[in-house]
C-alpha cells in the first residue's frame, strides 16, 4: 500500500490509482512523477472527483490512464487552453496539466506565457525529458546543443530554451523545478504548486531511460535551492538561479501572490458557467437596442 504519515495522519495514495499497469519503459522518469503526484493529491486531502488532470500527447500523456481522477487527454500541445477553460467554467475543481517538453515548449509554447500572465489558477507539470519520447527520440526545444538524436544525427544545431527563465519573464506566480529521481522532494513541490493560488509552473527533469538517460549526470549536478537559503520572494534571485548552467537547482524558484484570473469574472461565478443548468433567458432588454 502506498502511503505516508503526515502529522500523525496516514494518507493513502491508492485512491488516485486506476490500478492499470503503466506501459512506460523500465526506469522511465514518468514513474517518479506519477507516484509523487498521487501522494501529493492524497496529502492535500482531495477526492478524485474534485481533481481534473489534463494531459498532452507523448509518453507523459499516459498519466491520465493511471491517475484516478477526472481526466482529459487532449491533443498535442493544448493542455493549457484546455485547462484554462475547465478552471474558468468551474473554479472549484483542482486542475492540473501534464505536458511534455515537446508538448509545452515546442508545439504548445504559444500558450505558456499567456497562461502565466493571466495567472489562471492551474498547475502545469512539464515532464521534461529533453526529448520527444513517444515519437522515438527526436530533439526538442530543451535538448542540449550538440546532442545527437534521431533527428539530429550530426548534433543538435539549436540552443536549448530556458523554460524557467521564460516562465519567470512571463509573470508566472509560482515557478519551480523538480527531479523525478527525488520523489519525496517532488511530492512536496507538487503540493506547494497545487496549493498556490494562481498559475503554478513546475518543470520536472524526467530522464527518458530509452532515448536520453541522464540520471547519473543529473544526480551529480542537482542541488536543492532550499538548502542554500534561496529567497523565493525575490524575482531577481529567481532569475539568477534560473540562469545557472553548471549545477542544476531544484525547488521553488519564485512564489508571489496576485489575484487569479477568475477574479475578473465575479459576475459569472454564482454559480460558475460549468454548474449552470441552461434556462430560458429574457432578452427583451436587449431587443430595444435594435429598434
Amino acid at each position: 500500500m502506498d502511503h505516508g504519515i503526515y502529522g500523525g495522519v496516514i494518507v493513502v495514495a491508492e485512491k488516485f490509482d486506476t490500478g492499470r499497469r503503466p506501459v512506460w519503459c523500465p526506469g522511465c522518469g514518468n514513474f517518479g512523477i506519477l507516484v509523487a503526484l498521487r501522494r501529493a493529491l492524497a496529502r492535500l486531502g482531495l477526492e478524485p472527483e474534485e481533481v481534473v488532470l489534463v494531459t498532452g500527447i507523448g509518453c507523459h500523456g499516459r498519466m491520465s490512464g493511471y491517475v484516478r481522477a477526472n481526466t482529459f487527454h487532449t491533443i498535442h500541445g493544448r493542455v493549457l487552453p484546455l485547462a484554462t477553460g475547465i478552471k474558468l467554467a468551474n473554479p472549484s475543481l483542482t486542475v492540473i496539466g501534464h505536458s511534455g517538453d515537446g508538448d509545452a515548449y515546442a508545439i504548445g509554447l504559444g500558450h505558456l506565457p499567456h497562461a502565466a500572465r493571466r495567472n489562471i489558477d492551474v498547475t502545469l507539470i512539464v515532464h521534461d525529458n529533453m526529448v520527444f519520447g513517444l515519437t522515438t527520440g527526436q530533439a526538442t526545444p530543451t535538448t542540449p546543443k550538440g546532442r545527437i538524436t534521431r533527428s539530429t544525427p550530426y548534433g543538435n544545431p539549436e540552443e536549448p530554451l530556458n523554460p524557467l527563465f521564460l516562465a519567470l519573464a512571463s509573470g508566472a506566480t509560482f515557478v519551480a523545478r523538480g527531479f523525478s529521481g527525488d520523489i519525496a522532494h517532488l511530492e512536496e513541490l507538487i503540493v506547494r504548486a497545487i496549493r498556490h493560488e494562481g498559475f503554478s509552473f513546475l518543470d520536472v527533469i524526467q530522464p527518458c531511460a530509452t532515448f536520453f538517460n541522464i540520471y547519473r549526470e543529473v544526480r551529480r549536478r542537482v542541488y536543492k535551492l532550499e538548502d542554500e537559503g534561496h529567497d523565493t520572494r525575490s524575482l531577481e534571485a529567481a532569475i539568477r538561479k534560473s540562469l545557472e548552467t553548471e549545477r542544476i537547482p531544484i525547488g521553488v524558484f519564485f512564489e508571489t501572490k496576485k489575484p487569479p484570473f477568475r477574479e475578473n469574472f465575479p459576475h459569472a461565478m454564482s454559480p460558475p458557467p460549468g454548474q449552470r443548468v441552461p434556462r430560458s433567458v429574457d432578452l427583451s432588454h436587449v431587443w430595444s437596442r435594435y429598434r
Partner: protein
C-alpha cells in the same frame, strides 16, 4: 400615411468618417418612419482613409437585398461622388466644400451647421443625414431620437449631434422646395420587428441557448460577436475571454464545455483553419462545442472585409478522420438567432461539434426581422450533482442512440474521462479492432437522429412553380428579392448542410422541371452536394466570387434566361 413606397440611400466617405454609424442611424430612422430596411456596407481592411460606404434600402414591404441603383447619396468626400454617381436616381448631397466644382451635386451647408452649433467637425455626417431627411421631408424628431439612442453612452455627444442634424434639416427646406422630391411617409415602425445584423443575432441566439462561456480571437467579420458578448457579459453572467489564438479559443471552449458550460467561439476561415485539429478533438471526446464561421473571400488572407460562401466544403469535411457534425447556415438575422440557439441545443443533445456558417454579408448586414421569441433551452443527457448508477460511470457508454450520459467533472460518484485518442467506453485508450469499430459505430449512431433534425428544419421553400432555384445562406436574400415578382419560380433554401437533408430537399424539389443553383463561390459547392446526395445534376449554376453579394438584378437576369428557354 402617404409618401413614397421605397427609398434607397447611400452614405460614403473615407474610413474613419463614421460612415457605418451614419448608415445605421439612417436605417433606424427610416425604420421608425415605418419602413422595412436593409443595410449593407463595404470597406477595405484599413482604419483610416480608403473608401467605404453603407447602403440602406427602405420599403413598405419586406426588403431582402439591395439593387444596383440608389435614390440619394450623401457624399462625405469627392471619391464618393465619383464612384457612385452612375447609380444615383435622384440626388447627391455633399458639403459645400466637397461639392465645389462638381456638377449635379447639391452643395449643402453641412460644415456650416456643424460650426454654428459648435460641434466638432466629425459631426458633419449627422448634418448630412439631417439635410437629406429635410429634402425628403421626413420627421427630424425621429432622427434626433435615433441619434440619442446610438450615442447613448455619451450624452453630450448625442445632444450636439442631434442639434447639428436639426440645423442642417432646417437648412434643407429651401432646396426641398426646389427639388420637390417624393417625400418619405411618416408612420410607425413595423410592428414586432427589429433591425439587426447577423452577428448580433447569432450571439443573442446563443445567449438564448444558455451560453455561459465565450472565447474568441478577433477576426473580421466575426469580431462584432466578441464585442457584443464582452459588453453584455456582466448583465448575462458570461465569462468572455480573448485568448492568444484561435487554437487557444477552441481548446478553452472545449475545456469549458467538458466542465459543463455552454460554450462557443467564432472566427472566419483563417481562424477556423487553426481550429480544425481541435474540431476533431471535440468530435472524438464527444464534447459539445459551437463554432461560428463567418466566411470572407479566400484563399488565405484573401479579401478580409468582403463576403464569400466558399468555405462550405471545408467546414463539412474539416479535420482528419470521419465524424458526424452539424453545419447550420442561416440566411438572415432571424435565422441566425435560431441557429445560435439551435447550435447549443444540438451540440448538447448529440454531444457533437456544431458549426454555424455565416458570411460577411449576413454577419455585418442589417435586416428587418421579427423580434425573436423567448426560447427554452434543453439540457440533454447531462448528469450533475451525483451519479447513482449501478455500474461504475462510463463516459462513453455505448447506447442505442449513440449518445452517452455526460457527467460533469465534480459529479459525486463519477469520474469523467475524456480522451482524444481512440478509447473504450471507460475513456481509456484502446487500439483493439473490435473496440475501435464499436466506438466509431457508436459515434455514427448519432447520425440517424441528426439526419432527422436536418430533414425537419433544414430546408425552406418560398413560393411555388416548376422552376426551382436552390440556394443557401445570405444569398437567399438576393434570390428572394429577384424572384419576388416572378411567376412559376420556387426558391428552395438549404439551412442544414451537414448532415445533408436529402430526403426533405428531394421532397421540396418534387415536380420541379428545372433546378438551378445560386451561391457565392466559384465551383458550385452546394451544387456538388446536390450531385452527391440527390444524384441530381443542376440545370444551371450561378456563382460569384468577387467578394460582393449578389444583386437581385444579376440573379433576375440569369433566371429569366432559363424561363424563356
Amino acid at each position: 400615411m402617404s409618401g413614397r413606397e421605397e427609398f434607397t440611400f447611400l452614405v460614403g466617405g473615407p474610413a474613419g468618417a463614421g460612415v457605418f454609424r451614419s448608415g445605421l442611424v439612417a436605417a433606424k430612422t427610416l425604420f421608425r418612419h415605418g419602413y422595412y430596411v436593409h443595410g449593407d456596407n463595404e470597406y477595405p481592411s484599413i482604419i483610416r482613409g480608403g473608401h467605404q460606404w453603407m447602403m440602406v434600402k427602405a420599403a413598405k414591404r419586406e426588403v431582402y437585398a439591395h439593387g444596383e441603383e440608389v435614390d440619394a447619396v450623401l457624399a462625405l468626400d469627392k471619391e464618393t461622388v465619383a464612384r457612385h454617381r452612375g447609380r444615383v436616381r435622384e440626388v447627391i448631397v455633399a458639403d459645400e466644400s466637397v461639392a465645389r466644382g462638381l456638377e449635379g451635386v447639391v452643395a449643402a451647408p453641412l460644415m456650416r451647421s456643424v460650426r454654428e452649433v459648435g460641434a466638432p467637425s466629425v459631426a458633419v455626417n449627422m448634418a448630412g443625414l439631417g439635410f437629406v431627411l429635410g429634402l425628403y421631408r421626413g420627421d427630424v424628431g425621429r432622427l434626433e431620437a435615433v441619434i440619442r439612442d446610438v450615442f447613448s453612452k455619451k450624452r453630450e455627444v448625442a445632444e450636439v449631434n442631434a442639434r447639428v442634424a436639426r440645423r442642417a434639416y432646417e437648412y434643407a427646406a429651401e432646396a426641398a422646395g426646389e427639388l420637390a422630391l417624393e417625400p418619405l411617409s411618416i408612420g410607425e415602425p413595423p410592428r414586432g420587428k427589429i433591425v439587426i445584423d447577423g452577428n448580433s443575432a447569432v450571439a443573442l441566439g446563443a445567449l438564448a441557448g444558455g451560453l455561459s462561456f465565450y472565447a474568441a480571437y478577433p477576426m473580421t467579420p466575426a469580431s462584432p460577436i466578441l464585442h457584443l458578448l464582452a459588453e453584455l457579459q456582466k448583465e448575462y453572467g458570461l465569462v468572455v475571454v480573448q485568448p492568444e489564438s484561435e487554437i487557444a479559443a477552441i481548446n478553452m471552449v472545449t475545456g469549458a464545455a467538458y466542465a459543463g458550460a455552454r460554450a462557443m467561439t467564432a472566427t472566419s476561415g483563417g481562424g477556423f483553419s487553426l481550429m480544425t485539429e481541435a474540431l476533431g478533438q471535440a468530435a472524438m471526446t464527444e464534447t459539445p462545442v459551437v463554432i461560428v464561421e463567418a466566411m470572407r473571400a479566400g484563399p488565405s488572407t484573401g479579401l478580409p472585409t468582403y463576403t464569400s460562401q466558399a468555405d462550405l466544403r471545408f467546414v463539412i469535411h474539416a479535420s482528419q478522420g470521419e465524424f458526424p457534425r452539424f453545419v447550420l447556415a442561416p440566411g438572415d438575422p432571424y435565422e441566425a438567432y435560431m441557429a445560435g440557439f439551435d447550435a447549443l441545443n444540438l451540440a448538447w443533445k448529440y454531444q457533437v461539434p456544431v458549426i454555424v456558417l455565416t458570411d460577411k454579408y449576413l454577419a455585418e448586414g442589417y435586416w428587418t426581422v421579427d423580434e425573436p421569441p423567448r426560447l427554452e433551452p434543453s439540457e440533454g443527457k447531462v448528469i450533475r450533482g451525483e451519479y447513482r448508477g449501478e455500474e461504475p460511470y462510463k463516459r462513453y457508454k455505448i447506447t442505442p442512440d449513440g449518445v452517452s450520459p455526460m457527467a460533469i467533472p465534480g459529479t459525486k460518484g463519477a469520474l469523467v474521462t475524456a480522451n482524444s485518442s481512440e478509447h473504450g467506453e471507460d475513456g481509456y485508450g484502446s487500439t483493439d479492432p473490435e473496440v475501435v469499430t464499436a466506438m466509431q459505430d457508436k459515434r455514427f449512431r448519432k447520425l440517424s437522429g441528426m439526419i432527422e433534425e436536418a430533414n425537419g428544419k433544414g430546408v425552406k421553400t418560398y413560393g411555388g412553380g416548376p422552376l426551382a432555384v436552390v440556394t443557401w445562406g445570405s444569398t437567399k436574400n438576393a434570390v428572394l428579392e429577384a424572384t419576388r415578382d416572378m411567376y412559376g419560380v420556387r426558391v428552395v433554401q438549404v439551412l442544414y448542410l451537414s448532415p445533408f437533408p436529402s430526403e426533405r430537399l428531394s421532397r421540396e424539389l418534387e415536380g420541379a422541371d428545372r433546378v438551378l443553383v445560386v451561391e457565392a463561390n466559384k465551383t458550385g459547392q452546394l451544387a456538388s452536394l446536390l450531385r452527391e446526395h440527390l444524384l441530381l445534376e443542376p440545370d444551371g449554376f450561378l456563382g460569384k466570387y468577387d467578394g460582393r453579394p449578389f444583386t437581385p438584378e444579376e440573379v433576375e437576369e440569369w433566371i429569366t434566361g432559363f424561363m424563356e428557354g
